[in-house]
Amino acid sequence: MKATIKQSKGAFIAGAVALALVCATSVGTAMSYFTANVQAQGGHTLKLGSTTEIFEKVVSGKKEVQIQNTGDVPCFVRVKAYSDSSHPLTYSGQGWSKGEGDWYYADAILQPGEMTPVLSIEISGLEKNEDFNVVVVHESTIVSLPDGSGGDWSVIASSSKKEA
């Protein structure tokens, strides 16, 4: 008697499985649609690593300053010197212009590896063999505008101060 019940259960399960298989086949057909997919990607690296280095000589009460672009992107450069009030400073040099904040700006964009023209800073009122203290600061900023102009001085790529 038990065997009969088991056989009946087995038959019901077999029937259910068969129905499920048939249904699954039908559902699969209904959900098949023609599709296609294509992909592409790309990009470019941003180089903002502007670095500069200052070179200067002191020749008979005069400082001769040059800045070199040691980075790999073009940049703008500016220079400013500080001294005490008894030793006023006078700037001169081709390719430099006085601009905002009394900084002296190199007229041309400094390409990687290039050196600026010489900026002379003359120190007045010096006594013979007198020690003096002049601080020279230079700053650079990357060329951030598409037409090659501009440069955001509120963000400084590199800044260097030398005391002598």
Binding site: A40, Q41, G42, G49, S144
Partner: protein
Amino acid sequence: MKRTAKEQVSAYKSVIILAVIAVALLLIAGIGSARAALTYFSETYAAQVELPDIGVTLVENGEGVATSNFNNDGNNYLDVSNNPDDNTLGILTSKMIPEGEQLMLGRKYTEQLAVQNSGNIDEYVRVRLTKYWIDPEGKKITTLSPKQIDVEFATGSNGWVINDSQTSTERTVLYYTPILPVGQTTPQFTESITIDGMVASKVTEETSTRVEDGVTYTTINTTYDYNGAQFVLRCEVDAVQTHNAKDAIKSAWGVDVDMNASTGAYSLR
């Protein structure tokens, strides 16, 4: 609870009938498959009914960069791309920057993307466009904002619609709502790409001093957070058949649409 002999015979009959039904159902399924296999090889059948070949191509500035066409003969997809190393993944922006120049901040670079129907059945298409930054090792940088990769989209009256509910800072999902007929190309869905000059304001400062010949040098180095990072623009195009469109779009793309019976165009719900 003992069953009579008559009841037992009846139970056996039920078992046998159910087993026969189960076998019959399985046979029906099997015969269906066998019939499909036979007709597949039948020349007469092939001549009378042309099976659809769906296909799609991503077009960048007028040139195809990646194609995937379904091939019925081989029951597979034929993939072609401008990437010599991977025919399933085309290369974007390869001609964006003129030779000898570097990527410039704030410059608007032309990046006109469109989709062509390269198959032989009409279709609907959509695009998933993602943008992000990676480091030199190719690892995604999650601390840099995709917002600075400014993609100008061309949408509105040209058939392209941005689905805001699927769009984020990093990803934009666009749907071309009219039917894209065989051989036709959609209007472009992007115009240009610009790296926002604001990336130059994201910096980290470091101060150092050195003494040479009694002279003290103080140097403040400003490191740009985005320096050395590479922007990535990734585009995935999906195409689906126009037959039974509402269900096909729901099944393939997971979105609900309403169909315009007269034009064949759909609108997103």
